[in-house]
Symmetry: C3
Subunit: 135 residues, 3 copies
Amino acid sequence: MSRRALTLEIKTRARTEFVPLSERIRKEAAALLEGAGILHLYVPHTTAGLCVNEGADPDVAADIARVLDRLAPWNADYRHAEGNAAAHVKSVLVGTSVTVPVRDSKLRLGRWQEIFFCEFDGPRSRAVELRFLPE
Amino acid sequence: MSRRALTLEIKTRARTEFVPLSERIRKEAAALLEGAGILHLYVPHTTAGLCVNEGADPDVAADIARVLDRLAPWNADYRHAEGNAAAHVKSVLVGTSVTVPVRDSKLRLGRWQEIFFCEFDGPRSRAVELRFLPE
Amino acid sequence: MSRRALTLEIKTRARTEFVPLSERIRKEAAALLEGAGILHLYVPHTTAGLCVNEGADPDVAADIARVLDRLAPWNADYRHAEGNAAAHVKSVLVGTSVTVPVRDSKLRLGRWQEIFFCEFDGPRSRAVELRFLPE
């Protein structure tokens, strides 16, 4: 494995769950971040995603999850036979990667920003791949 | 042209079409991917996008396209006079770029993941710009 | 501050506003773009975002803003007590970063593409962090 890449394992506990990652990244990926550049986070899944938004008030993530539920309801007129088409749609709306600036070997998140793993078809065992790209 | 960049030409055949790109990238962009880093894909268009999601069952892409049609119907109360405002909205919801990890000179897509070019105002001749960024 | 990073300050004037950035980037960030790579743009905010779409006809951005208003109405059944939950949701749908190819030290935007700062809870003083990553 590369010195500049790392995989975080995540166990989700509900169908929909926004799991904050920033604290884990600061602890487990500190050796990855050398100087200035960006941290690239990627989920190798098709029914999950990543986003950056407010972490201070957990109601914000709950509101985001509820709007996504309204945009892509779990039960609707989908063709995909596995029953989790809504989770695939949400993954596309939210996206499978985020990138965050790094300076002085530190994540440069805004004051209220948290990096969330977005579970849309849990509970499951998931992975997030981190990779540092220097300037 | 740079040794680390490449443009894929795409001909779409319908107004809405999700065109799988992973196989073409593996064949045509193999020389681009050297060691570890990320592959950056970019569409220089305003009525198309890129996403990563399930490729095994084509019903998944069809479901995603249908939900996007519901969120931004083709005919609605838009101001843009060209008649394709819905395609612009979908492009923003899906995004104009994706980034995928590369390791050992290979794309690190998840087992079920496919990279899709998303046509929202076809049929047209389109381009996707690929660029490799090393760790 | 790094030679390859730069912060743009933005003053927004309305609750919702799409502020074109490409011209400012070409002028103020020219020294950042050296050769080939990508420009990474990031907002450290949780009620704003970034997108790339048509800049020629301002009706396009207005249509995008209006669809987002329909998907996440300002007044709805949100839990977040600050009253701006809709802005958080839109930030997630649009995303907090965009990446644009650079070649020959120039932004490689498509002919109709403009980079927009998306204000969803203005008017406010905002920042966009730019960072160049070489191939």
